[in-house]
Symmetry: C2
Subunit: 305 residues, 2 copies
């Protein structure tokens, strides 16, 4: 199968491309720079907003399209126009062009739990209405409907998966406001002190990057008749407190959890660390999974950094 | 209050502008042509996609914005790019510009039951997920999320109302695929034969244009804390069969219902005349209403044509 992955140089993209290559697929990876795209994939470097770059990427063969490329949450807040240009306009063009090249193309879209906004209700489940607050979440939500509409028209065979916190991102600026969850891993692995900007009791929905890539691989082969009519599922995730997460990372890294101190950034906690119980039966029925338990989540995440 | 109404020359817009003027508001009406905008309103003629036209309209004073202007459903199917340009891009620009001119501006958005797509589930209620199939419904659904996101950020104070079939549109081409519902009124009022393209048992959700304008007037003054977190409500509507509707129109017009014959256009029936029971508690709680009963729906609709 010829699979086009946008954002193939990102930390989820790299993991997914390696998984797809290992499974014997032909992979075209598209990103700003070819440098980070795994070897073995055909690399297309350029801006997703550039029609010529998209044309080259789609022209490489596209039995399936996994759309990971995005202006991330923090960057979208800083530059809403860039988010609109890439996360809405360029993606809409990409859907039109991919379906014109291959009518009914399988298409997997990386949306986000940011579509729910905040504050969240006491429980989030498949019936929770979308009410985005961040620019990023708003644009992701808009494009969920585009994926549904294109799918209902038979132009694409779409799957939207909403990602929880994915652990652990590489060190360094990611443009993601939720980067503190990943920075915790890097600090403890290096035996360094870490200041967590939210409280120890703050709860997050998390999934390892390995599990996340596995879920995308599953989505590529999914029979979409198992999906809700919206074509969208919230991926299963473990709900863990920052304190429990830190303790388990410290245990697996053989360092003291006392390296971690906690703050009380209310805005950050409201947006990223006040996540209530999460129920994802639609995703479970469609065969998506979380890491299983906290120890496995942490070991999966540590193995990838 | 200074109220800007886009699509003010349309059949809902004209009724609404007259209602708002009667209530003592200053109204700016925007439409392609000034001709159909009711006297008493300040008319701004031009294309919603033209930034200069929007600037003039917003500059006339905008304590509240009622956004009715749209590329309608049938026209959107024929020209999806035009729908994207007006129903998505120009509306998004309008939201940005109106909120820049008046941060937190009250904004009422005319969405559509087309956001639900088809086939519809056995009952439609406030929990029914959106799964648009028509271009029009897809674009309306996308912009519902933009209204929620802009509202959650405090840029606007938004209300989305999803319109059912509005009766009766003026005679002549409207660009609406559901025009047959209105054409039935015109034919029977004139004592003419009418071929209804869907079956007598086909069921529609309907509201008179008078009731619809009244609902928009209500939305302008609404305390939005009464709304769901999505900011969107499906307007209450009467569910009537085409046969019952024809019989009641015939009765009130003093003609024979035998003037009407029925077809079986399956696509049209699936999209517009297979509407299951509808429950709209969120809209009811927020003070929106339907016409009350079939006789009232028909008399309200006949009074306006």
């Amino acid at each position: 199968m010829n699979i086009l992955v946008t954002g193939a140089g990102g930390f989820v993209g790299r993991e997914l491309v390696r998984l797809l290559l290992h499974a014997g697929h032909q992979v075209t990876g598209m990103d700003f720079s070819a440098d980070a795209i795994p070897e073995g994939a055909k690399a297309i470097a350029g801006d997703l907003g550039d029609a010529e770059v998209r044309r080259r990427a789609i022209g490489s063969g596209c039995d399936a399209l996994v759309h990971l490329a995005t202006v991330p949450g923090g960057a979208a807040e800083t530059d809403p126009a860039a988010s609109r240009r890439i996360n809405v306009d360029a993606m809409y063009d990409l859907l039109l062009e991919a379906s014109a090249a291959n009518n009914g193309v399988k298409m997997v879209y990386a949306s986000s739990i940011a579509v729910f906004g905040d504050p969240l209700p006491p429980v989030v489940d498949d019936a929770t209405p979308l009410s985005p607050k961040m620019i990023y979440g708003g644009h992701k939500a808009m494009m969920e409907h585009a994926v549904a509409m294109f799918s209902n028209r038979g132009l694409i065979d779409g799957v939207t998966v909403r990602l929880p916190g994915i652990l652990a991102r590489p060190k360094g600026p990611s443009g993601m406001k939720s980067a503190f969850m990943s920075d915790l891993f890097h600090a403890l692995k290096a035996g360094e002190q870490f200041f967590c900007p939210v409280s120890a009791g703050g709860t997050i929905w998390a999934q390892s990057v390995r599990q996340c890539a596995e879920n995308f691989r599953h989505a590529v082969g999914l029979n979409t008749s198992s999906l809700p009519t919206t074509r969208a599922v919230t991926l299963p995730a473990l709900r863990v407190s920052m304190g429990d997460l830190a303790a388990e990372i410290a245990r697996q890294c053989g360092v003291s959890e006392a390296l971690v101190s906690y703050g009380n950034d209310e805005a950050l906690e409201a947006a990223f660390a006040a996540q209530p119980p999460l129920q994802t039966p639609a995703a479970m029925r469609a065969g998506f999974a979380h890491d299983g338990d906290l120890a496995r989540l942490v070991s999966n995440a540590l193995a990838a950094i």
